[in-house]
Subunit: 275 residues, 4 copies
């Protein structure tokens, strides 16, 4: 885990959540990457010499965020309590080694999301344990590697994740993902993709889960320079800002006393702890 | 597992899903119950002498459905493949013993739902493994046993689950469940409850998950005769009809060939099996 | 207006809304058509010799529904109170003459929908007054007539409107409609279209509005035989069944007395009539 | 229209929409008020001596926004093109005189919203022409003036509009609004209200419409000091920040040329202008 300070632009990525008129502190983002393709496939390491995580952390830093990284082969996959305690938004890229991610760490990350941490799941992360756990569905889809053109159309023009993006983003070569994508219907569908081979795909999907926000963003096959594309970077920066935790006290859940006087004859049974 | 035929009303519960104009076969519903309170608490067995499951199966049968039952202490909790193969909609009531439900059976039921089986989760089933797995959230809430009045207001008047129901259903005595209820925002919110003690609750929540439909319905604490209430019965019958599986071929997911001729230079990489 | 009885299949299109186990009466559908292209363009009248409305009413009748028709040039556009009183679901096709539809009749149809009548808006009906009034947005879109291939992908496999439909519907030649389609995000997105020319479109959009249901279905340009396509017919039959009015009393709105005893000191001000 | 600069806190209300790391300019909000109760009812003018609009503009200014006001009796109701050109978010309070608002100005405001301007509709504004036009439904509801307690529960803890708010907001005395509230199901339901008299209400409803965002917030009857309540102020400030226009080019709609080369034999018909 390596947090890069952005001393040139302190507090630059201010938050609209802060109603008080005081600029919010810079967003703290941790970019998690499996980091296996980069070590195995020269084609990938040529495009991302320091790994996909470093490429993403780089443009987040340029956007004024405090971006760190974590990878599968670090202890606890780099996702220690200390790291998560200082993470507002977690970005997730995985593919080959979903099965190697420890279940206890998946459960911990899920709890963090429900408690408010933002989560952005990229591309093949659709099949990660954490995304499946949060969606409750298989998250399976159609796919094909054929150097195809993808065009991501904005279908939610009022959504902050689409800020600064034109009518669509065109990627000359990408892996195809096709419907039916087995996810819950997104709370907000931001992008829908057209593929040269004849498929469509819900490629930008926003969810609230507990106190946290989740965004799935389709592009980013490891053999293409997708994360160097300015519009793709812009969407990820927007999504990180959108997923900033909302500052509220955690709701109490469990046995609760009445807030109002009950009618005569109502009998309050003493409950214990959480249900 | 005990399937009760309804020979007097063959095919009575016909389905609007059948566009062909041919009346659909009767809906096959399995009512699953933990069936522990009934054995331990005379107050409960007095209200439900044959168990909550039998009470529910009874009014479903009267509505023309083929209703069977299954309980925790049967082999495989009564949820064998044979039973599930003949189940269109599964109803779930559990409370004391969520932890005793086998994980492999939970996983099997989840797959069945994603493949089209309807699921209706009642009351304290909010904390069941199957509901948590399908929601991806904690499903925790506030609660209180105080003999309180609950009033379930219809907030989706166009929804078939509200058919035949007035502006609200009033229950003189029920357990209180209060917000924040940690569920994904329902695809359709059908009922919202008012409680005497000052809380509100999203008490009728409809979801699609994969090829199946899920409905959570709040009322039904074991010490009250809630499942003998005509409006509560009507909602559960409506929900079962609504959750009837849609007849379609299961979507293919995995590696897929292009449907369109790709531009020159596109290279199709041969993929293997499911991603 | 001409109601065609379907005496061969009485009550065939039964409804899942009827929880009582009694088969519901046949659905009464009125197919409204502008009916201008058919009179002006031989290419259209060759495909639809009796008009688009007759073609649609024909396959609805075959599906066991009581299907009638109404057209722009009839008195009150064929939408008298008498006709609407016996209409469960209204289907709308218009294009050239949206502006000729009387505002008072639009307002009347809108009220009927809010009171429970189903509405299915087809193709160029996206720009009709009634659809715009119910959506609250411009309902504008991109379009192109270029004999293009359209492929409508099912993105909501659990939805009854997709019953009996494969992974997609392929139309060899259709008009293109492209995003951004200026509609509210659908309550349920059932189909998303791929077009040969590079666009996508939300082509099957389900909404609840008041007590009624609205479905927008994209295909059906007048110069193509789209409404003779079996899958397109199946979707429209499914949609009509789905849009069947839910039988409930109309909710009361206006000044209301408290249902609970208020605390001492609360002063109830007498209100008058509807707010 | 009177724009109050907030020179002490330049650019304070920065926006998360701005991914570039550059703090966004202060939000420009126009608070529109019918301003009739204040002139007719001493009870109201005692609570809001300068009008409800001035009270709201006051706390928005304190939050670092550039807040101006506009009222019904000004020329063009104070909503000239010049005013709207410099309005990011419009807040709307009306009650007695909905019918006096000019239809052309309603249509203009609706277009502005679809083009990106945020709109926050307060309390009795539920029955305003602009809210009805954007919703497409009657927006009718139950109501009662009885000095009742209202408790607004947060049901969407991840939503930025709930930032800084506890589990609920309690208002000791308010007018009651009850279900069924005839609105489209909100894209996001943020608050649900409990009322002493036995009703519930969807009291914080978020929508996207075209390029703009709309938030309906229930509280604010003119005879209570609701807009002086810190939590109510916080919600309105949050909502204004949330409704900030997303900076994008307006999507093109109308006849469009193909982005891809069509198959041989496809014939592109020349279209004209907007459909």
């Amino acid at each position: 885990m390596n947090k890069t300070a952005t001393s040139e632009t302190p507090g630059a990525a201010a938050s609209a959540n802060e109603a008080s008129g005081v600029t919010a502190p810079a967003l703290r983002v941790t970019v998690w990457n499996e980091n296996r393709h980069e070590k195995q496939n020269p084609k990938v390491s040529e495009i991302y010499p320091d790994g996909i995580h470093a490429a993403i952390a780089g443009f987040l830093t340029e956007a004024g965020m405090l971006a760190g990284t974590a990878t599968l082969d670090e202890p606890e996959h780099g996702l220690t309590d200390e790291v998560l305690d200082t993470t507002d938004v977690l970005i997730w890229w995985g593919h080959l080694a979903h099965g190697e991610v420890r279940d206890d760490i998946v459960a911990k990350v899920q709890r963090r999301v429900l408690d408010g941490m933002g989560l952005i799941v990229l591309h093949s992360g659709h099949y990660s344990k954490i995304f499946q756990a949060l969606m409750g569905t298989s998250c399976a889809l159609k796919w094909r590697e054929a150097d195809e053109k993808e065009r991501l159309w904005v279908v939610a023009p009022a959504h902050p994740i689409a800020a600064g993006i034109g009518e669509f983003i065109e990627l000359e070569r990408e892996e195809m993902y096709g419907e039916h994508f087995d996810i819950p219907a997104p709370d907000e569908l931001v992008f829908a993709s057209w593929f040269e081979g004849g498929e469509v795909f819900r490629s930008g999907c926003a969810y609230a889960r507990g106190g946290g926000k989740v965004f799935y963003f389709r592009p980013g096959h490891e053999t293409y320079p997708t994360y160097w594309h300015k519009d793709i970077q812009r969407v990820i920066v927007n999504a990180a800002n959108w997923a900033r935790p909302v500052k509220r006290e955690r709701p109490y859940r469990g046995n609760a006393q009445p807030l109002e006087k009950l009618a005569a004859g109502r009998q309050v049974t003493k409950g214990e702890g959480q249900q």
